[in-house]
Amino acid sequence: MKNPEEAIGKVLAGLRAAEASPGMERRILAAVEARASAPPAATPRWAWGVAMAGAAVASLFILFILTTAIHWHGHPSTQAQKHVLPAEPARDAQPATLLSRKPIEFIKAVAPRRTATRIRSEEAVLLSDLRAPSHPAPEAPLTNEEKLLLRVVHSGDPQLIAMLDPEERARQEAKSEAEFQKFVEQSSKEDHESDQITE
């Protein structure tokens, strides 16, 4: 392009000079007020019916869950079995009285059959996992830096590839820094001059 700076300036000036079509404010006000004054959509009667039915079904489900839970917690006590152990002889007791004493009873809760079955099935799953043939771990994804490096290399842009050299990059950065300083100084100087003119 012959003079890129001029072309950029022209595009930016075109964006700066963009003017709305006449009457935009009026049209916008009318549209916004129409939107604001529109009544909110009323909830249809059938929607209330559906909501009520849904609530009823949900409450029935909760009731069922609660009933099942209560029944389940009460179950182990009914399965408790009595085991009888022979009584331990007391040290200071007389032999005659020792024989006449009743044996001590204690209650041992037996785990429900269902739990045992579940444990067995979990063990089976664990064992099958253990015996399954092992595979190598999947390849780790590339890091962002590696991806960037690949992209730069594949782009084939000599300027970008040259920037991978630290010395070259330092030189370019120093150059751009100098240009930036110049730009800032120039723009601040222009601002100062324009302030003086307006004063």
């Binding site: 392009m1 890129p4 072309a7 950029i8 935009m24 404010e25 751009s176 800032v184």
Partner: protein, 185 residues
């Protein structure tokens, strides 16, 4: 009882009237600026106008929380900016950029020259779209005369020095790319 109801009705209508006055004032004051903000992204009048309308719909929707907004102008600009960016993703910007480039070409030249100018402007717009996002945003906002560096920084959520540096880099990168294109031809 009836008098209380009547009083509250009057208060309600007064409040509503006040809100309407405020909205009219806001539209009057900011719509042109917001149009330019949206137009810098969308580059078509109709779409930009729709964005401005959407901004004021948001104002109406959030009218209860408007008191808490520190800087109304920046808030509105930010809404317009974000809405315009969203909208640009949904439309086909190439055609719009082409139309805008044609409007930029001078009318007092021959048809051939006019076509060449339009192509040059299209190339600038195309390269602008290829700039890194933050640089492109700063460059587009810099085109809006009413916006200073501080406001641009607030809209983009960056510091003023960062905005200045981004603007410099954007212009330099754009110039280099356009020069490279010219060299290839």
């Amino acid at each position: 009882m009836a008098s209380i109801a009547g009083g509250s009705l009057v208060l309600f209508s007064m409040e509503r009237a006040q809100a309407e006055v405020d909205l009219a004032a806001l539209v009057e004051r900011y719509s042109r600026l917001l149009f330019r903000v949206a137009h810098s992204v969308l580059r078509t009048r109709a779409e930009a106008e729709d964005v401005v309308q959407d901004v004021f719909v948001r104002v109406i929707e959030r009218r209860r929380s408007l008191q808490g907004i520190r800087d109304m102008r920046v808030w509105l600009i930010r809404i317009a900016w974000n809405l315009a960016l969203d909208r640009r993703r949904c439309i086909q910007p190439e055609q719009m950029d082409k139309n805008f480039a044609e409007t930029l070409a001078a009318s007092a030249v021959s048809a051939g020259e006019r076509l060449e100018q339009a192509q040059r402007m299209s190339a600038v717009l195309r390269e602008m779209e290829r700039l890194p996002k933050t640089e492109r945003h700063v460059l587009l906002l810099s085109a809006i005369e009413e916006l200073g560096t501080a406001e641009m920084a607030e809209v983009l959520g960056r510091s003023e020095s960062a905005v200045r540096a981004l603007l410099f880099r954007a212009r330099m990168r754009l110039r280099e790319r356009l020069e490279a294109q010219g060299g290839k031809r």
